[in-house]
Structures are given as C-alpha cells and as structure tokens.
Amino acid sequence: MITLTHYLLASALLFAIGVVGVLTRRNVLMILLCIELMFNAANLAFVAYARALGDTGGQIIVFFIIAVAAAEVTVGLAITILLSRQFKTLNADEVSFLKW
C-alpha cells in the first residue's frame, strides 16, 4: 500500500540529494541543476498532497513553480555565461574574491 508518506519520503530524498549536489558540485551550472532537483522535490510533495487532499490547487502551484524555475534557469544561465566570460571558469570555488 502506497501512502502519502511514501511519496513524501521520496520527495524528501530527492530534495536532500539536490541539497547534497548543491554542496558538493563545484561547477556553477551543476549547482543550478541540483537546485532544479530541489524544486522538483517540492513539486512532488505538492502533487502528492494535492492527491491526498483531493485538491487541484496544489497542482496549479506546481505549474507556477515550474514557470518560476524555468525563469530562474534563464537568469542563472545568463549569469553563468557572464561568469565564464569574466573568470574563464565555472568553478564556484575559484570565484571567491569577495570574502571576509
């Protein structure tokens, strides 16, 4: 029997993997990718809840999240391109001139 909690646990794992990715990948692009994982985990949670509640509202929110995530990717990629132009690297570690 698959309950809501199953889905939620799946989403939690997905979320955590995303977070781990954000922390461990050095490439900015990959970090953005992992952030997408986090958003998707949230989407899964929304849809699962929507299903459990019998409410379409949750699905609509997912729609918005997808739109926002897409927009974010747009901005993120633009900044990534700037970054690679300026620093000739996408390694987040190496872009640490602003500190202390």
Binding site: V19, I31, A92, D93, V95, S96, K99, W100
Partner: protein, 618 residues
C-alpha cells in the same frame, strides 16, 4: 559690643578684600589697608577687654548666625568673647600689628608687596576666626585657612624651589594632622547628644552638656589632639616648621612663632574641659609636649641658620606649652603662649632686621653685629634673655609657672623641662655669642629703618613687662564655673623650682659663653667628642629621612605606583582592553566564516535549516 566683636573679625577680612580687589597693584594702599584693618581689630579687642575689666561687658559674649541651616543640622558662624579668646585676640592683633608695621619696612623692595599684605590680612582674619570661633566647624575653617595663608606666605618667594617645597610640606603635614582632627570633630559632634537633631558643635554648649554616655572620649580626645600636633608642630609632625623659615621673616615671626603655631595650644585650652577628664589623653599630651620641647632644643644646638635656631626654639617652647596643658596647667600654658608670642616675635623680627641688614642668616658668617646694629642687637638680647627665662623678663614667669606645675605633677617631665631650659639657654647664648659678639666675619650690616625698629621696641617692652600684666588671673577667670586649680607660682615647691631653673639657665648660658664667647674649647672639638649624638642630632633624628623615605619609597613607589599599575594593566589594559580585544577578536573570527566560497555559505544555510527542523521535531 556685638558690633565691636564682629568688627574684630571683619576688619582684617575687609582689608584682605580691599587688597585683593583693588590694591594688588597699589603698594601703599595694600599695606595701609592691612595695617589699619588689624589695628582696628586690636582697638576693638582692647575696648572689649577694658569693658570686660570694668564690668560693662559680661563675659562670655557669644553671637552667632546660622551659616548652614538644615533641619536637624545647624552650623553657626559667630564670635565668642571670653577671657581666653580675648587674650588671644589681643596677642594676635597686637603682636600682629607690630609685625605688619615692621613688614612694611622689611618687604619694602619686594615685587609682590601687595600680595604679601593681602595674604597677611587673610591670615589675620583666619586666625581671628579660630580665636573667636563659637564652634568646632568655624574653628576648623579658620584652622584650614591659616594653613592656607601659611602655605602662601612660606611660598611667598615661590621662585625659590626650597620655599615652594616648604610651603607644600607645611600644608601637607598639617593636612595629615587635620585628618585626625576632622575625625575628632566628627565624633565629638556625633556624641554630643543622643538625639541626632540636637547635636551641636558649639563650644559652650558642649562644655556645658558634655558627651553622651557610650562615647569614646579617649579616642575623641586623641583625635582632637592631632590638630594641635600638626598646627603647633609637635613631635612627630614638627618637620614642617623649620622648613617654613623659607618664608619672609615677618611671616616667621607672626605665623610660625607668635600666633598660628600657638593655635594648637589655644585649641587645647578651648577644649580643656574635655581633656581634663581624660588622664590617658593628658598623659599623651604632656609627653608629646615634653619630648618635643627636649628634642627641638637638641636640634637647635647644632643649627647654624639664625632663623632655624629660632624655629627650633619655637618648637621647643610650644612643646613646653603643650606639656603644661597636658599636666593640667592651663593657665601656665596660656601664660607662656602669651609671653612667648612677645619675645619670640621680637627675636624673629630682630633676626629679620639682621637679615635685612646683612642679607645673611648663617650665624657662622655673621658676627659682631653688636657694633653695626646696636638697636637690633639690644632688642635681640632682650628677647633672648626672655627666652632663657632670666628674671624679671616675661619668659621667666611663664616658664616658672610651667615648671612648677610639672614639679607638682610629674618629676620626670619636670627634669626634662629643666634640662630643656638649660639647653635653651645654651643655644640662645650660642646664637648670641656667635652672631652678635666678637668680630664681623665678612658681613657688615646696617641698621634697619625706624619703621622696623619701632615694632621691635614695642615688643621688647612687652617682653620685659609681660610678667607683670596679671595675665594668669585673666586666664584663670576664663575657666567657667571651675576655680583655677593651678594658678601660677606660689606653691610650696615654687622657690625650689625657681632656684633650679635659674641655676640651669645660668649653667647653659655660661657654657655657651665658654664655648662661643670666650672660646675656651672649640665647639668643633666638642662635636667630635660627641660624634654619635651630634650626627644624630644634625640629621634631625632622621625623622625627615623617615618621612621622605615613606613618601618617595612607600607612598609614591609602592602605593601610588601599584595603584597606577592596577589602573593601567588591570583596569585599562585588562578589563577594558581585554573586553575590547575579545570583541575585536570575535569580529575577526566571525568574518572568517565568510570564506568567499558560495557553497560554504550554502553549508551554513543548511546548518541553520537543520537546526530549525530539529526544533520543529521537538
């Protein structure tokens, strides 16, 4: 009468104000105002005295106004005229006037002439405040103010480091004494009445009512005695007085011989009702006095500075007075105070005249002044003889009175007193023979102007006749209610005492003549023979060394320095600096979290999230 009484107090004050406000650049105005002020005071005092004699004035006369009036605490300021204060007032104003007049000559060429008279007037006012005070606070105010005036006058020639230091020393030593004195006054007040609102500082009320039960009168008495020890330069706080000779000579005469230093004795008389009943305190007082008298006389033996000799002699005589009071001889002490004021002022003024004429005060460099300065020498001689106690000069009678009391009360002190009398005669003779007789040694003096000589004559006259003015009776009449228990001479032992003292004086003078007049034996040889005691005496018993060791090495080096160390190292660097450094260090550390790596930031973010989620689980 009340007006007269107030005038005594206010005339010198007005003079001082006048000098300071408008006379500071007008020499004649300054000196005449000061002299006039004091003369007016003298006149008023005389009138009161005569009125008292004639019975037109019933003593004591007390008049007050409330200086501070708070619920439960009233501090008055007023004038108390009783025989004691009247006598003292007459001495202060009378001798003072003579010295003021003398000073116009002595200080004639001084650049700070007006300032000098301004301070003198201030001194006169302060001294009269003590004398005429109706209560302890007023007395204390005068007490402090005379100290201040004394400070200024000793340091009159402030350019001289020695003078500046001497003034400072005098003030500080007195302050140390006043510490005890102030506490004594506080305690006296605190125990004056069981009801806090009824406490009083008033002399007459205190004398009348006494202290409450449970008070610690011995402690109070000892603390109060601290005041005289400082002001009257008793052992061990006598060290300031010799140094105070750095001041102009009229100052030495007025303040450090005749009046201010006598204030301590006056105070003992004023509070005699208290001391009288405290045998322990009386013992302390008489021994302090006796020891001072003896030690100071010893110091005078080896001193070569004319003024300092006189200063030690003053110390010694003050010791006499204190001893007399400690022995219960209130009349004798006060009597000696009066005569001493006459002859010591005379001696100082004469010495001043010598200095004025020769610009020298080392007796070894003086000599043969008898030829150059006849009048001065004559008056000095009169004073010296009075000091020695040669009958019938005034000193004889008063000293007799003291020795008689001592004889009756305490043989040990009597012998000390007699010994001191011999020493006195010896050093006085030494000064006389070295400085005034024989041949001049390089310095030829010129006689002083009349304005200086006339005061000398007046004082000389007083020194001569001082014994016949009926002073003891006058003083005795001041003891309210109680009969004068110890009048002057006339006891069974009187004749014996007289004989002994005259003999001792004669021996002393004779020895001085042999050593310094005739020069049978060279003094140097004597000194060598008595090397150890001489050096001990020459080093002033090492008391000054002890004090300067304390001040420089204990107080300055250890106490003050360690406080400074605590301040700088513990409080500033440690407490404040430590907290500052810690904060700054935290700041530097905290910002190291900011590594610049974006993922580190995410990590911290995540730490926060995890913490928050953990708390959500609670």
């Amino acid at each position: 009468m009340v007006m007269l009484a107030w005038t005594i107090l206010l005339a010198p004050l007005a003079a001082a104000g006048l000098v300071w406000l408008v006379g500071i650049h007008r020499k004649p105005l300054a000196s005449s105002a000061a002299i006039l002020g004091l003369l007016i005071a003298f006149g008023c005092a005389l009138q009161l005295f005569l009125a008292g004699r004639s019975g037109a004035l019933i003593l004591p006369l007390e008049t007050n106004f409330a200086w501070i009036a708070l619920p439960g605490l009233t501090i008055q300021f007023g004038v108390l005229i009783d025989p004691l204060s009247l006598l003292m007032t007459l001495v202060v104003t009378g001798v003072g006037s003579a010295i003021f007049i003398y000073a116009t000559g002595y200080m004639h060429d001084d650049a700070a002439y007006s300032r000098f008279f301004g301070v003198l007037s201030l001194f006169a006012f302060s001294m009269l405040t003590i004398v005429l005070a109706t209560n302890w606070v007023q007395l204390f105010m005068g007490w402090e103010l005379v100290g201040f005036s004394s400070y200024l006058l000793i340091g009159h020639w402030y350019a001289k480091p020695a003078a500046a230091e001497a003034g400072k020393k005098a003030f500080i030593v007195n302050r140390v004494a006043d510490f005890g004195f102030m506490l004594g006054i506080l305690m006296l007040w605190a125990y004056s009445s069981a009801d806090p609102a009824q406490r009083t500082f008033n002399f007459l009320q205190l004398e009348h009512a006494g202290l409450v039960h449970g008070a610690m009168p011995v402690l109070i008495g000892l603390l109060l005695f601290c005041g005289p020890v400082g002001k009257s330069a008793q052992f061990p706080l006598h060290v300031w007085l010799p140094d105070a000779m750095e001041g102009p000579t009229p100052v030495s005469a007025l303040i450090h011989a005749a009046t201010m230093v006598a204030a301590g004795v006056y105070l003992l008389c004023r509070a005699f009702w208290l001391f009288e009943g405290l045998p322990e305190v009386m013992t302390v007082i008489m021994w302090v006095g006796g020891v001072t008298a003896f030690l100071a006389a010893g110091l005078a033996l080896v001193e070569n500075d004319l003024k300092r000799i006189l200063a030690y002699s003053t110390l010694s005589q003050l010791g006499y007075m204190v001893m007399a009071l400690g022995l219960g001889g209130r009349t004798a002490g006060m009597y000696h105070l009066t005569t001493h004021a006459f002859f010591k002022a005379l001696l100082f003024l004469a010495a001043g005249s010598v200095i004025h004429g020769t610009h020298e005060q080392d007796i070894r460099k003086l000599g043969g002044l008898w030829h150059d300065m006849r009048w001065t020498s004559l008056t000095f001689l009169i004073g010296a003889l009075a000091l020695c106690g040669i009958p019938p000069l005034s000193g004889f009678f008063s000293k007799e009175a003291i020795l008689t009391v001592a004889f009756a009360r305490n043989p040990a002190l009597f012998s000390l007193g007699v010994l001191t009398a011999g020493l006195t005669a010896f050093y006085t003779g030494r000064a006389w023979f070295v400085a005034f007789t024989g041949k001049a040694r390089g310095h030829h003096g010129h006689e002083s102007p009349p304005v200086m000589l006339i005061p000398l004559f007046v004082l000389a006259a007083l020194s001569i006749v001082g014994g016949f003015l009926g002073l003891p009776a006058l003083i005795a009449s001041g003891v309210h209610g109680a009969a004068a228990p110890h009048g002057g001479a006339g006891h069974a032992g009187g004749l014996l005492v007289m004989a002994v003292s005259i003999a001792v004086v004669a021996i002393g003078l004779g020895l001085a003549w042999l050593l310094y007049g005739k020069q049978v034996v060279l003094p140097g040889q004597v000194a060598r023979a008595l090397a150890l005691p001489t050096s001990f005496v020459e080093q002033r018993y090492y008391i000054d060394e002890l004090y300067s060791w304390y001040v420089l090495h204990v107080q300055q080096r250890y106490i003050a320095r360690s406080c400074e160390w605590v301040e700088q190292r513990v409080i500033i660097d440690g407490l404040v600096g430590g907290i500052t450094a810690l904060t700054r260090w935290l700041g530097f550390t905290v910002r190291l979290l900011q590594t610049g790596r974006v993922q580190a930031y995410v990590l911290v973010f995540l730490v926060g999230i995890v913490w928050l989620l953990t708390s959500a689980l609670h």
